[in-house]
Amino acid sequence: MADRKTPGLAGAVAGIALAAGGAAFASFLAQRHKDGDDNAPLYTRKRPGTDNPIVGRTVTIRKPRAELYEYWKDFGNLARFMENLQTIRKDGDAHIWTIKAPAGQTVEVRTEVVQDVANETIAWRSLEGSDIETNGEVTFTDAPGDRGTRVSLVMFYNPPAGELGRAIAKLFQREPEVQARHDLKRFKMLMETGEIATSAHTEDATRRAKQQETGR
């Protein structure tokens, strides 16, 4: 586990929320279309019936399902569009997510893939010993006509105990939803245009803007 003396994880939340674990999540996913009175995804409810932050977002990307699935399946690619993710590396069957934290620090989360249906779904969860217990699921479904693919990302996390946990949780509650949206949109940009839009004027300004966003 990386150094985590500084609990002010402002920008770190994003990646963490995407890291993955728990039965609650699975049951949440199973009931998300049944439990409500309407057809809306559960995460769009005004009062979620749970204290655990669950966030979800959908984007439509004009690319075939298989292409998007293949890109995501190679977890090492995620760091290209998840702003707060430094790297993901393979460790046997597990993945180790290195997530940027303030003041140049990093936090690590170990995850395993719990579901993998070709061209449809990839789900993961954090393993014992990770700082944060999280689950994530990305699904790929055909959009109508030639509109491409609808990509939905749903995430759940259980904040860790203690002071650090509370600090993370506090930040988590306002950040993950924004970060999920931002990360998915960057994924869309990368897939549809081959690059991620920036209005920076010089290379230097690009770097500064990135550092600002990740709170470093």
């Binding site: 439509t60 004009r62 509109r147 491409g148 924004v178 931002h182 949109k185 960057r186 869309k188 940009m189 549809e192 245009t193 081959g194 690059e195 991620i196 839009a197 920036t198 209005s199 920076a200 004027h201 010089t202 290379e203 230097d204 300004a205 690009t206 803007a209 966003e213």
Partner: protein, 397 residues
């Protein structure tokens, strides 16, 4: 390099700023040869558009020579190009259906939240126009970075001089789309509010599209004169009751289509306009929409309302009842420039459209601040200002 930067309301200056660099593979860098000041820039100058940051380089109407290209750019060094003011990726859903100004991928992700909150959806990016629309540096400068340079810029044949083609970047397609959105039929009477560059091009377009009568409304004699020369009948709103006159001039039916080429800073002494001016002054984001309100009352039942004029926020006392009860059709939007550039370039080449009649002043880039001041304060005679980075200072054509 030198560039016109925004420092606050009515405070723009030519400063030295960093040269732009290629950042993404599809980028290109242009050396600007000609750029213009737009009526939309006046909204920034007057401080009524949110999200402008001191130091921002303005300018969204520009052309120049390609001096650098990213690995994926299809442009070649030395080419002369005009660049659409709307930045569009060409690959998203909206670009594919040619709604370029709704591109989903050009506004950087971290800039999208503000407009998503204001409008329900994020805006696409524009050059030199507030961080709501991306915060991209504009073209009132010596150089500019052009993202997605394989999609927007149109290459100009050598025999066409800058001034003939520069307005392909914005006001020419904007006037054209303003007329197209009015769905003009041959027997139509069409009224156009505002004889600024956008209104003048909308008038010319409406005539080319075959309207039987075009009526232009403004209060500046010289601008009305330009409209008249294009073949429009004119109304001076300071002298004449506009709605009365329009009813009479359309045979008691009302205008078939109306075009608002004024936007959020409409002039005049209508009471609601005065209240909105006061609100804008104290920083309540109220759009002055008196021209649009008048247009909605003047159009015939079942008629068409086209709004190329820019609005940014909310407006009070909007005649919603007239809109519904008369069964009006409304179309608006930032121009889908890339949709029109090729056709309009042909119409410039074959002489269907005159693009130089409205140019009143040519200034060196160094004099840009004076250009802004005069374009705002002496609107009658300063109809359109072109800035030239290379031009000697003190020289005014």
């Amino acid at each position: 390099m030198r560039a016109l930067t925004w420092h606050g309301t009515h405070d723009v200056r030519v400063d030295t700023v960093d040269d732009p660099e290629i950042i993404n593979p599809r980028d290109a860098i242009l050396k600007i040869t000609s750029t213009a000041i737009c009526g939309s820039d006046l909204h920034l100058y007057d401080g009524v558009i949110p999200g402008v940051v001191p130091g921002d380089v303005l300018g969204h109407e520009f052309m120049g020579e390609v001096v650098e290209t990213g690995a994926e750019s299809t442009l070649k060094k030395g080419q002369r190009v005009v660049v659409p003011f709307t930045i569009s990726c060409g690959g998203c859903f909206h670009c594919q259906i040619k709604q370029y100004s709704a591109c989903e991928n050009s506004n950087p992700v971290e800039k999208q939240d503000m407009s998503a909150t204001l409008y329900g959806h994020p805006m696409s990016a524009l050059f030199g126009y507030s961080h709501l629309t991306g915060g991209y540096s504009g073209g009132q400068a010596e150089y500019v970075r052009v993202p997605f340079s394989d999609v927007g810029p149109i290459v100009i044949p050598d025999h066409l001089e800058d001034e003939k083609v520069l307005f392909l970047s914005d006001i020419l397609p904007t006037g054209w789309m303003g007329a197209e959105n009015a769905e003009i039929q041959p027997d139509d009477t069409v009224a156009v509010w505002g004889c600024g560059p956008v209104g003048l091009f909308a008038i010319q377009s409406a005539i080319v599209m075959g309207a039987s009568k075009v009526i232009a409304i403004d209060h500046y004699p010289h601008r009305l004169e330009l409209a008249k020369k294009l073949g429009a009948e004119v109304i001076d709103f300071r002298k004449t009751d506009v709605r009365d006159a329009l009813m009479e001039m359309s045979g008691g039916i009302g205008c078939d289509a109306v075009i608002d080429a004024v936007g959020m800073e409409s002039h005049g002494f209508a009471i609601d306009n005065m209240i909105d001016i006061a609100k804008q002054k104290i920083g309540i984001g109220a759009d002055r929409a008196s021209a649009l309100k008048q247009a909605i009352l003047a159009v015939r039942p079942g008629g068409r309302v086209s709004i190329p004029g820019v609005y940014g926020g909310m407006t009070d006392k909007f005649p919603l009842g007239a809109l519904m009860e008369k069964g009006l059709q409304v179309r608006s939007g930032q121009t889908h420039v890339q949709r029109y550039t090729k056709d309009l370039l042909e119409k410039i080449e074959d002489g269907t459209l005159d693009t130089t009649f409205l140019i009143s002043h040519r200034l060196p880039l160094e004099d840009a601040a004076r250009g802004y001041k005069c374009f705002r304060e002496k609107q009658d005679s300063w109809t359109k200002v072109i800035l030239k980075p290379g031009m000697e200072q003190g020289q005014t054509a």
